[in-house]
């Protein structure tokens, strides 16, 4: 057990190192020099060299990488060129916003996906086709298009939801933690919770819809398979209603593969936050990542990619653990 955990930790470290090397080299060979973007019109070669030194871009790639790696091992991710602040603290401020968004989207997707799957399983041919059609539509339209559609529908035509940001500026940000939704719910600040929730609803829905379609399809298939198993037939003979059969009996066996797939898809959902956060001006990691790329803020991009990599690894680890917990065969080896 301990050996397996150590092996897993070593694999994580190697993966992260690979990500670090890859992103560092890629950023150095990709076009776009951050110093070239900020030099003044009359800057002399000496001025440009001074800026390059100031931002630690004057050494060789190997030297720069060595310094960066040493800083990472010391718990630092460098200083952002555009924000003039430590990358670690910037990420620490924005990560909770992205996590709240992604988790809200995941909950919505699970809820909607499960509802569609149950309805599809219970329906006859026509109803099932309708559910398939809906899930096909949800899947076919990418999250950023859903974002724009929601903006037009719920933000402009029927202006019931706020269009941008994470909280109404007039409410302020008197939070003790960067988890606005979680904190306001825990502390009972319902006005803040309602406002944060309202700001979350559209971006979370845009992210959730395609994932809900995937969940619906996989779960419906698994439910339909389970519904013809002997134990379900026995329950049916005992007089259990179809709804209870699906949600109580079949769901237990069908949920395993769905969770595994949801875990994998959640990493894609995290990636999707980049563009969705941009559209809704949501102050999370994704929005900051785009700014960092535009400004060629190399330390910030490196830090963000590393954190996204870590999130992906941890998500997969969590899903593996959950699946192992649900499936005794995997748990015992």
């Amino acid at each position: 057990m301990a050996a397996a955990a150590l092996n897993r930790a070593a694999m994580m470290a190697v993966t992260l190192l690979g990500v670090a090397v890859f992103v560092f080299v890629l950023l150095r060979v990709a076009p776009g020099d951050p110093v070239a973007m900020m030099i003044g019109p009359g800057a002399s070669p000496q001025d440009i060299a001074a800026l390059r030194t100031r931002y630690g871009l004057d050494g060789s790639i190997m030297l720069q990488f060595g310094l960066w790696l040493r800083a990472i091992l010391g718990g630092e991710l460098g200083t952002s060129i555009s924000f003039h602040r430590p990358v670690a603290s910037l990420i620490g401020e924005r990560l909770p916003a992205t996590l709240e968004l992604a988790l809200s989207a995941l909950c919505l997707a699970l809820l909607l996906g499960a509802m569609l799957a149950v309805v599809g399983t219970l329906s006859r041919r026509g109803g099932e086709a309708a559910v398939d059609g809906v899930s096909g539509l949800l899947l076919a339209v990418p999250d950023f298009v859903w974002s724009l559609a929601l903006v037009l529908l719920l933000g402009v035509a029927l202006p019931v939801l706020p269009l941008s940001g994470r909280i109404d500026p007039s409410l302020g940000t008197d939070f003790r933690t960067p988890f606005y939704l979680g904190e306001s719910l825990v502390t009972g600040h319902w006005r803040a919770a309602r406002d944060v929730g309202a700001h979350l609803l559209m971006p979370a829905t845009a992210l959730a819809l395609p994932l809900a379609a995937i969940i619906a399809r996989v779960l419906k298939g698994a439910l339909q398979e389970a519904m013809v198993q002997d134990y379900v037939l026995v329950a049916r003979v005992k007089g259990m209603s179809e709804l209870r059969l699906v949600t109580r009996e079949a769901m237990r066996n069908a949920i395993g593969p769905t969770l595994a797939l949801t875990g994998v898809q959640f990493t894609f959902l995290l990636g999707g936050t980049v563009i969705v956060e941009r559209i809704f001006s949501y102050p999370g990691l994704g929005n900051m990542a785009i700014e960092a790329v535009i400004n060629r803020d190399l330390p910030l991009i490196q830090g963000l990619v590393l954190v996204f990599g870590l999130l992906f690894i941890l998500t997969n680890l969590l899903i593996d653990t959950v699946i192992a917990g649900l499936n005794p065969k995997l748990r015992h080896g």
């Binding site: 951050p34 602040r85 941008s164 535009i294």
Partner: protein, 514 residues
Amino acid sequence: MISVPRRQTLALGASAVIAGLIGGRIPVRAATPGTLTIAFNVTLPSFDPTTGTSAVNPTIQAIYRSVFDQFVGQKGDLSFEPGLLTAWGWNADRTKVTMDVRRNVVWHDGSPLSPEDVVWSLTRAADPKSGNPIQFIWSKIGNYKIEDHRITADVVSFDPTLFKWMAFLTGYVLPKAYYQKVGADGFEKKPIGTGPFMVDAYEGNAYLRLVANPHYWGGKPAFETVVFKFVTDATSRVAEIESGSSDVTLEIPYEEYDRLKHKPGLSGIATPVSDIGMIFISNTSPAMLDPNVRLAAIHAIDKAAIVHRLLRGYGVPLATLEAPEYEAYDPAITVSYDPAKAVALLKASGYSPAHPVSFTLQTTRGFKPKDYEMIQAIVGMWRRVGIHADIEVYEIAKHYELRAAHKLAPMAFYNWGNAIGDPTTSTGFAMFGPSPHSAWKSADLDAKIGPLWGEHDEAKRIAGWKAVDRVIAEQGLVIPLLQYVQPVLFKTSVAVAPNVSGALQPTLVTKTQA
């Protein structure tokens, strides 16, 4: 005891949420009285207006000018006015400068502004270690002396644009004592200035909330609170103004501007701003060394058609790198749209539509309004006269890198700002060989431009730049295309004064009776 089944509870909860949504119970806050909400097109990464990439972003100056004051002020027509300096100038032989510091000005923390703050700000800006990208200007003076509220300094190297830069990028007065006390990090967390608004709340990539400075030397602002929402997506900015969530927005597609400007409750202004679209010509390419090719390329472009058909009329065709609001603008310099002349020029060099001259033309796509479409149209116009251009799309970051390394393609589209309106900042830095931003680097042109940098006689200096512009136009060393027009859309409850610099400052917005 009343028992409610779980299913019924869930149904009631879902119904409440839906009813709340439909009934607008989850609040969408329209602008509150006394608050001005601006859906802004860029984010504010840093509060220090003197270092980093945001320091050289002309749009962000709208925010910096709200919190801080510049040494010298600037009006909406680009003319200058007293800022924290009430008077400024050179001595007769241009070896000294004098600057009078405004009295009775206080920082947002209540401490008084002193001439030491001004000297410290200038000295810090001139220090190469500060990372100030305009350090090359601030280092032109030094050895400051303070006598009461008058500062004198020695001129290290005469630059006629020194005081103009004091109204533009990085030309801000920062609080010496406060900055030294809290440090750079502390300043980022709680910045103070002497400007019309004080920072109240800030959430990166989301919003900045400012409150009026009751002690502002220029009078209390019209709005008690100003909120800058950072809405970088143009479609989302349109939604912000159309839904009523914001009072003002800018830089939206011209199609949307035309659709919304006459909508009840909305109004708009479209102002030609100090930002021009141009095509750099690089003399590293053999094809570009042929003046016939360059001039043919210029004469084959129908700029008026581009403005009319692609930009819906929102643009001003240009013949030089000087816009009409700039000091060295010379309406006598014209470049005709003459495809027949282009054909003749190319024929003289052995080219024709059947045997075209070929080269690469770089452009951004979506960085400026219709940039790629403009280039496509130009390539189409060129094809008809005997020029074949391969379009290469690049990111703006790559443009900067290639330009600094003098490795741009033979032709490269770019936009060039010049909010101080001086010819050094338009023609000068774009065309002078030693500038890291020029693409055409030639000894002939440098010999003409060089003496103008230190010309003491202002009238002679401006006339000199006009002459340089004429030479550039006659030899076809760059392709000026058009001056951009900035659309600003706003509720009829406010009025927005045009600003040629393009900075949408809250002080330019006033309340109306509507």
